[in-house]
């Protein structure tokens, strides 16, 4: 459905030095499927999202949606792309306009894309989608400040889902949330993906969240995809040394494993120093 073919992007720094942020990135998100993209800070994740959404023009390569080039799309095609591809941001505190009510926030897309015949139909859709994400009609007149972080992220998801998108691009959607609340939003995204047959591009630094949510995983290192494959393969038998290093560095909630890993690292460092 969404495809990136050899996408490259560089920036020229103030010093005149050229920085290659993305180098020949190819990715494919299929209808109803989830792809996780993991990378550390500076790997090019945010630039990739901007390019994928058509918000930034890549220097090379192509982005297609349903076979049509996003860069050279006609106005109607571009409108369809912007309706069918929705974004959920990391920080639910800054991504929702604090002066808009929940009803205004969630119905905004319906108005922009003229997707409701009447105000009544529009409100019905808003209530329906709020209920889908576990909120109710009583949320309609309230402002974002009345909600906790997890609830705000539900509102952001409802806002994205209201216009019945085909593809959700999630940019670190749970990293700002408390652990006990994270799980609620992860479960919600999982349910929505299955119920609505959504495609999901899930961009995150947290490999555990990606393993949980995504059928396929791509690993981005310094602007290059170094490994891509089904979840069980990437996590079970990582091929690239960078993927292995990332996986081994993640703290696991298992004291015995954590300690034996540290002892192994120390032993490796000592034998390296001795050599």
């Amino acid at each position: 459905m969404l495809q990136l073919i050899g996408v490259s992007k560089s920036f020229v720094l103030g010093t005149g030095r050229r920085l290659d942020v993305l180098s020949g990135v190819s990715l494919k998100v299929e209808r109803g499927r989830s792809l996780g993209l993991v990378g550390e800070s500076g790997s090019g994740k945010s630039t990739l999202i901007r390019c994928a959404l058509g918000l930034m023009r890549p220097d090379g390569g192509e982005i297609t949606y349903d076979g049509l080039s996003v860069q050279s799309a006609s106005q109607p095609d571009l409108m369809r792309f912007r309706r069918e591809v929705q974004l959920v941001f990391q920080d639910p505190y800054s991504s929702l306009n604090p002066r808009m009510t929940v009803e205004e926030l969630v119905s905004e897309g319906l108005i922009i894309h003229s997707l409701a015949k009447s105000a009544r139909e529009r409100r019905e859709r808003v209530v329906e989608v709020l209920e889908q994400v576990g909120l109710g009609a009583d949320a309609l007149p309230r402002f974002p400040r009345a909600f906790s972080g997890g609830q705000r992220q539900r509102i952001a998801i409802a806002r994205a889902l209201a216009i019945r998108p085909q593809l959700l691009i999630c940019d670190e959607p749970v990293s700002a949330l408390d652990v006990s609340v994270q799980a609620q939003v992860i479960n919600l995204l999982q349910d929505m993906q299955r119920q609505l047959n959504l495609g999901i591009l899930f961009v995150a630094h947290d490999l555990a969240v990606v393993r949980h949510l995504c059928e396929r995983v791509a690993v981005l290192e310094k602007g290059k995809i170094v490994e891509e494959g089904p979840r069980e393969a990437v996590f079970g038998a990582p091929q690239h040394p960078y993927t292995r290093a990332l996986l081994e560095a993640i703290p696991v909630p298992d004291p015995a494993l954590g300690r034996s890993r540290r002892a192994a690292r120390r032993a490796a460092a000592q034998s390296e120093a001795a050599a």
């Binding site: 949980h212 290093a245 703290p251 909630p253 540290r262």
Partner: protein
Amino acid sequence: MTLELEPLEQQITQMHATALPETPLLDVSDLTVDVVSGGRELRLVDGVSFSVQRGERLALVGESGSGKSVTAQALMRLNDRVRLGGRIDFEGEDLVAAAPTRMTALRGRRMGMVFQDPMSSLDPLMTIGDQIAETLRIHGISRADADRRALAVLDELKVDRAAERLRAYPHEFSGGMRQRVVIAMALVGDPDLLIADEPTTALDVRVQEHVLDLLDEISMQRALAVLLITHDMGVVAGFADRVMVMYSGRIVEENAVADLFATPRHPYTRGLLDAIPRVDVTLPRLHAIPGAPPSPAERPSGCHFHPRCPAAMTVCSTVEPLPVHEGSARLRCHLYGKS
């Protein structure tokens, strides 16, 4: 290699254990922290008791609003707009009653602190050498001595080309390197207790691993006690000897790290562990805890966790559970203890 090393680490830990004096390094009893907000008095920390032994690594885990950072700041009396109650016995002295000048003498020398964001702990206009040495200069140590010790502590933290790096400014450093500088500032005075508040939360996983390894090694070599404040159960598991789980201003469960992970008893602790996605196994579904942690202004009656608790009973909404012992754990939950 691994097999040779593990017994050695155990030996060191045992040596520390046998050398321990009877009195703990830090003994906090019934600590309360109150703040006036909008004309109303709020209790941020509500009767917290714990102790830290010399050389021990103790983790304080909690979510936002639990009071974990407020507790850490209270130990060092960093916030003078709050009112403290209870006792903080540190090396035989009650810090709740200590004069501000006494606190200045203790901070940086007997106790050091590391915060989450290294950039906000560093002065962009000062070389890192001056910043590390400043801690000692405040305590009247000569310029030459302070510089020498700043260099030694950077070496201890395995910073390459340390002498050269001392003349650099914070912006020339990566996030992980900045955090090492902040740790160096906390360690240069050779404290007995290091309080580290989410020291690796802003770092990438590989850098986090490195920083935690360094803290682990230094705490072992110096017999330095570390109070690690974090929200990450994975970090706790790999680093701490003992864990305290804090919820809504109270410590709800405390245990040795292996016992806590093997047998979490409090429904909140169990819920937290069940809510974490795992990188080493694919789980069908996460067990989410319903609702959200309460803000200090809206804490429920009785046990603060009762509205979210799957095992809540009638008593939980009215009666505050008192600490009880169950096996090796100390916990606050009506499911445990007699009655």
